[in-house]
């Protein structure tokens, strides 16, 4: 029998699981000061975003996507000091990723001996906008209890089964569906309640 309203209450009592993540600007400042832990957090925060732009947005094959992924974070690391607006790190990373994906596609089309004047196929703008929205939703998930965050991420983003989720989180598999529904309600409240469902400005800090 599933206990009502127990999606993460125990987790919520543990301070390490409820601590709010640093703002983008605070994270950038810590990175610039040489804080390796902050850098790891920054990579963690934006890794899905960069990956999705490369693989879903531009449909790069895995090897090309990996090269772009590493190049994006190398450039971010090297050029963080010249970012004009620390809050604009996200649009900066998005633009950098898009540019490197385009470079990669153009290089590929030249190598393939195809019509070198033909531009590679660009992703639909609404897909890139949807990725921005998806980032905001994931950001809102940080406001949820740990169990909710885990359940939603494992089921929808990692494609894990009820059984796997139940085993990993120590929950009866038969309760996962109802927990998902409740967690989605909480997510909707968190997402809409804070007015975060607006896409970020399309451009910001340094463009490279």
């Amino acid at each position: 029998m599933e206990a009502p309203g127990d999606d993460g209450e125990a987790a919520a009592r543990r301070p390490e699981l409820t601590e709010q993540p640093a703002s983008d600007a605070a994270l950038v400042q810590r990175c610039r000061a040489g804080d390796d832990a902050a850098w790891r957090e920054l990579v963690d925060r934006f890794s899905r975003y960069v990956y999705a732009i490369a693989v879903q947005g531009f449909r790069l094959p895995q090897q090309d996507a990996e090269d772009v992924f590493q190049e994006v974070f190398t450039r971010v690391y090297e050029r963080l000091g010249s970012l004009r607006d620390d809050e604009a790190v996200r649009p900066w990373i998005a633009q950098l990723t898009r540019r490197l994906c385009i470079d990669r596609l153009r290089a590929g089309s030249h190598e393939s001996d195809a019509d070198i004047d033909a531009l590679p196929e660009m992703p639909a703008e609404d897909l890139l906008e949807a990725l921005e929205e998806a980032f905001d939703v994931h950001d809102a998930m940080n406001d949820l209890p740990e169990n909710c965050r885990q359940i939603l991420d494992r089921f929808f983003a990692r494609d894990e089964s009820y059984r796997t989720i139940g085993d990993q989180l120590g929950l009866p598999a038969g309760t996962i569906a109802s927990r998902i529904s409740r967690c989605l309600d909480k997510l909707r409240d968190a997402f809409e309640g804070e007015g975060r469902n607006l896409p970020p400005a399309p451009s910001g800090g340094q463009v490279t």
Partner: protein, 84 residues
Amino acid sequence: MSAYDHEQLARLIGMLPPAPEAWVHAAQELPSARRGLDQLVARAEADAAFRAQVLADLEQALEAEGVEPQPRVVDELRRLLADQ
């Protein structure tokens, strides 16, 4: 009326699956890899015998410096030493 129903939220969550762990790990290790490379290159600049030793086995030199010899890091070390 809410702008987001469960189906929309589920679709948006699913649009950002995790990047491969190895990619994330490599990017997270960038600062320590850079420090290790800088130290190796500085020593190689000052010591020709050490430079030859590093060139003879780039992976081992990186490991001795506490840096994971990932292919990109090995390539970067090779490039930096060639530039000297």
